[in-house]
Symmetry: C2
Subunit: 117 residues, 2 copies
DNA sequence: CTCAAGGTATGATGCAAGTCGTACCTTGAG
DNA sequence: CTCAAGGTACGACTTGCATCATACCTTGAG
């Protein structure tokens, strides 16, 4: 399991949201790909599905007429214990960063040794 | 603490390595910024420092003649229990993805419902 | 003081990622 | 069969990121 891919996959808000919604179901049911209401078009969703698959976070099953996502909870919990809980928490919080993307705008808080004096 | 920023910060191999090396020291000593032997130039390192600071992963102290990084272990462990251990583990593994960047090259393994038949 | 060392700021550059439109494929519904 | 629904593939576009070169700043060493 490639840490770089996993982190890169979860750096995107839409993907983080999908994983979080999947993780929020304790029964780990498969979920229709179309049931995620993301603010992106079909083609973009397909793109996100791929990223999540390649990161090893979800499995996708093709039903011809539609497909489903299944969270690979076991693998994830094994390698990243606590990670899914983190995403679920973010999902249920009032923060604005949950739904939209994260076009990180400039802001450079200096932690300790302030130099901007 | 913004999940998006944290994941984005750790998606890069150089930054992941720095955090991992810091985390590998159980005493949490500050470490000279220049002591990381990354395959990048000075300006790029500075860029990475900034990303790590803005993600809330490290604090940087300016000594004028040089500066030091300090891992914000408490914050990280509080929000992401087990995360640092993960990075340390990756650091000490033989995998090639540890040092170099992660220019994720194409590869699309289909998990369950194979469609490429 | 003078200077080298270590970081930063700024701008440029190349590439990857997120987004979309369009065309196409597959299957269930009618 | 015909068609709409749901995904994918492909290409295009835009933005952001990682990288570097260069110039500048700050401080400790001499």
């Amino acid at each position: 399991m490639d840490l770089g891919k996993v982190f890169a996959a979860l750096a995107d808000g839409s993907r983080r949201r999908m994983v979080a919604e999947l993780a929020a179901d304790p029964e780990d049911r498969e979920r229709a790909c179309g049931s995620f209401d993301l603010p992106v078009k079909k083609a973009t969703r397909t793109h996100h599905f791929r990223i999540l698959r390649e990161a090893g976070l979800v499995a996708q099953r093709d039903h011809g007429n539609g497909s489903t996502l299944k969270l690979l909870r076991k693998d994830i919990e094994q390698h990243f214990p606590g990670l899914l809980q983190l995403l679920v928490t973010e999902l249920s919080q009032p923060g604005e960063g949950t739904r939209g993307m994260d076009r990180r705008q400039p802001s450079a808080p200096r932690q300790v040794g302030e130099r901007t004096h």
